[in-house]
């Protein structure tokens, strides 16, 4: 029987980084957070295939930068999403750095083989790209805080860990970002304006589909 990693906290798993259990412990961390990281990468890139590559990259980067980890409570997720922010910000450069490892994984996007699922994925990708287009008028930091708080569902304090800024900065930045997005929605932007009639928070609440 294997070690019961499932009952260990993220901090306990991370504490194994210096010994022979590091591989299993990081495997458990991957299992625990991969879907949230994947969703976040998708919301930042609007591409499923790039999100798959970036999810791997986030965990490889997390291992490379393991000494810098910051926990929010017991969770490493906010910090991982911060790593994901950096990875998506410099996506091409980051992907190039890990190109050799990524080449050994199954090709991204290969499994969307059921027609309905494939159609849904295409729809989601289109919507994400519309939203990203709309958010193009926002500052980088505003896009990040919206993605973390409104899409990934992090609390202010968790987003603060992810962004490496004080909680108060997250609050004010988020408020400005939402206002800025509403302002943009009022402007003429034919490609994006239909989606922008609703704020990301309302999209989250169930209006987009």
């Amino acid at each position: 029987m294997g070690i019961d990693w499932g009952s260990a906290s993220d901090q306990e798993l991370w504490s194994q980084a210096a010994n022979e259990y590091a591989g299993e412990a990081f495997g458990e961390l991957f299992e625990r957070h991969a879907n949230r990281v994947y969703a976040h990468c998708f919301s930042r890139t609007g591409s499923w295939s790039m999100a798959e590559d970036l999810t791997s990259v986030v965990f490889l980067e997390a291992w490379r930068r393991r000494a810098e980890v910051m926990f929010s409570g017991d969770s490493a997720l906010p910090w991982l999403l911060g790593v994901a922010n950096n990875a998506t910000r410099n996506a091409q450069r980051t992907l190039r750095r890990h190109n050799l490892l990524l080449a050994k994984l199954p090709p991204a996007g290969e499994e969307a083989d059921i027609a309905a699922d494939a159609a849904a994925r295409v729809d989601q990708e289109r919507l994400a790209q519309h939203l990203l287009c709309a958010m193009g008028g926002l500052r980088q930091s505003e896009r990040e805080v919206l993605a973390l708080c409104d899409w990934a569902g992090l609390s202010y304090s968790e987003a603060a860990v992810a962004m490496g800024v004080p909680e108060g900065t997250v609050r004010s930045r988020l408020s400005r970002a939402r206002q800025h997005l509403r302002d943009l929605a009022g402007e003429e932007q034919p490609r994006c304006v239909q989606q922008l009639n609703r704020s990301p928070a309302r999209l989250l609440a169930g209006g987009a589909g």
């Binding site: 260990a8 194994q16 980084a17 010994n19 591989g23 969703a39 499994e111």
Partner: protein, 185 residues
Amino acid sequence: MSYFHPQRMPELPARRRKAARQQLEQLVAQSANSRARRHPAVVVAAAAIVVLSTGAATAGVVAYEAVSDRTQARCFAVDNITSHDFTLIAQASKPLTFEVVRNARSTCRALFRIGVLRPGHAPGRPDRKPSHYRVPPLVVCVWSDQTAAVFPGGKGTCARLGLSAAAWRQLGPRRLRPGTAAPIP
């Protein structure tokens, strides 16, 4: 429906997920093992030095010392400083990550709880159900390099091993002279 709520998002495809996890585990294990291979010899040497230089510590006076290096700590499965039955915990460089080592006793307790460490055994795979893992009483001593070393045992264990007991509670090195009595951690 919302497309963006994470709980409603499609999951990372299974095949890709499995391969990515395997790759991560291999990479991490290779990297961690290449560093871990060094420590047994270092431990033997350090242990010999401690035994030779601190024999007087068993004279009945409990000595306390501050743990000044919190970059790592050792969790022992046996109360024997020459044993290799220990595991290293967290090396960190930023303030919040010190908590793992600062709370070395609770981290080690967790390792006993999940079965990584078993009293009297080499760290290894457990053979019983997780709920049956026993956590022994633990005591924090100061290793020769001023890091924390956590052993199964109680009061007097550090002295018997020729080590100082750790004075964790804010008696920093400047305020605490080696060998000075201090609150039990």
